[in-house]
């Protein structure tokens, strides 16, 4: 099937089978391998991308279903070599260890801070509860979100 998806601001055309997952489209066709395959059943959040600005699981969306929509992945967050304030905050707060979950966390954080520029700790925990991290624990991640929120507000 012919589809057209805007990926990180660029319009792209694809010819895909209907059973292709959006996750595999961005990873295998566009080589945007920042988005990760974790569990495949909606529990880990590693495959989170923004679909028309909303955080969704790309392992649970058919590529054909994203036809005509905007997809934003971790590769589109930084502006060239200049990191996004959210990415900077994750590094500064030590909220990264192996890095596997980080793209998903950053995309979810992006959606959170767009919706709520000054979230409380409880709100951050609630919003990020669909993202699993098995290395750092969540304390530094929450600090990173708070610091990113501060940076973005100023």
């Amino acid at each position: 099937m012919e589809i057209e998806i805007t990926v990180n601001g660029r319009k792209r055309r694809f010819d895909v089978e209907p059973n292709k997952l959006l996750l595999n489209l961005v990873r295998d066709e566009l080589y945007l391998t920042g988005t990760k395959y974790g569990c495949g059943i909606g529990e880990c959040g590693a495959c989170t991308v923004l679909l028309d600005g909303e955080a969704v699981l790309s392992c649970m969306v058919l590529a054909v279903d994203a036809d005509g929509k905007c997809v934003e992945t971790i590769e589109g967050v930084a502006d060239g070599d200049k990191l996004d304030p959210i990415q900077e905050a994750y590094i500064e707060e030590g909220a990264i260890q192996c890095g596997f979950c980080t793209p998903g966390f950053i995309m979810t954080t992006k959606a959170l801070l767009k919706e709520n520029p000054d979230p409380s700790e409880a709100e951050i925990r609630e919003y990020l509860k669909g993202n699993y991290c098995r290395c750092t624990g969540y304390v530094n991640i929450i600090k990173a979100v708070q610091s990113a929120a501060k940076k973005l507000r100023s």
Partner: protein, 298 residues
């Protein structure tokens, strides 16, 4: 211990994809392909099921292209919620939060933000899972299910919709288009209680309660229970015994004993043994009714 041994990286089955733009087109496709067709709404249940080959449809009918199915609006009879309304939209809708806080509370309890951004209320109901988190509140508020087919629209109370054993009352060529919730009694309070392995997991037990008071006594009372019988059920006996009484500890004790008699948990359900569900349904029913009474007093 359950271990997922299936490759969930890909969809291992091939199917034909349809994206109808209207209701009539949709029901035509559903009628034509019958059992081979499956409706795709949010996909948060369907896609994992297809990955695990629990369902292998030959035709996928994506109904997202029918925007009028996603509406949430006030109508003279109450509130209408389209089948495609996302759980996140129900959670955030000012109308639902004001008029039917039970539904926004239940929607908020489902999975993660990413799941709620995809999952729809219609999908939650039509999967016929006994633990569906939107089914219990819709039952507690006496919602009506709207079903569309070639022969036109019909509706019936949601209690009649669940057949148990993962089945719903839908014939070939029929599509659930939405739900109408009648006005709640004046000053009614409500509460949704849920317990699962984690807050992200599906419910091991969930309970919804709606209570209204008159002169300090319980006037209207409805209690719905999920995940503790083959289909979501109403605790009718407990509702009857509470009606006309003050919400005292004794009344609650009697009511929850009756709850325990009406639930029928199954041995093979893997999240918890039957005794656990039986006891927990009592505890959660007590919590839900107590909190609903408090809300009604406010």
């Amino acid at each position: 211990m359950y271990v997922n041994k299936v490759n969930t990286h890909i969809l291992p089955i091939e199917f034909e994809y349809h994206a109808p733009k209207s209701l009539d087109e949709t029901v035509e496709l559903l009628e034509k392909y019958g059992e081979d067709a499956h409706v795709l709404a949010g996909g948060t249940d369907l896609l994992p099921h297809m990955k695990q080959r629990r369902v292998e449809p030959k035709h996928i009918v994506n109904i997202k292209g029918i925007p009028e199915l996603a509406c949430i609006k006030e109508i003279p009879e109450g509130i209408h919620i389209g089948a495609l309304a996302k759980l996140r939209a129900i959670e955030l809708s000012p109308l639902i939060n004001e008029k039917l806080p039970l539904l926004s509370e239940a929607a908020r309890s489902v999975g993660s933000i990413q799941i709620r951004n995809l999952g729809t209320i219609g999908g939650n109901i039509c999967n016929a899972s006994p633990s569906a988190d939107m089914a219990t509140p819709l039952m507690a508020v006496d919602a009506k299910v709207h079903v569309y087919s070639k022969s036109g629209e019909k509706n019936y109370p949601i209690v009649e919709f669940f057949h148990g054993r993962g089945e719903v009352r839908l014939e070939q060529g029929e599509l659930v288009t939405g739900f109408t919730v009648p006005h709640l009694p004046e000053g009614a309070g409500s509460a949704f209680e849920k317990i699962g392995w984690t807050t992200l997991d599906i419910a091991t037990v969930n309970v919804a309660a709606v209570v209204s008071l008159k002169d300090g006594k319980i006037d209207h009372c409805s209690i719905a229970l999920g995940a503790c019988s083959p289909a979501p059920i109403r605790g009718v006996l407990a509702e009857e015994i509470l009606r006309g009484r003050e919400p005292s500890a004794e009344a609650m004790d009697e009511a929850v004993e009756l709850i325990a008699t009406c639930v029928e948990p199954r041995e093979r359900w893997r999240r918890a043994p039957p005794e656990y569900r039986q006891r927990t349904s009592k505890a959660l029913a007590r919590d839900a009714v107590t909190r609903a009474v408090e809300a009604a007093r406010r």
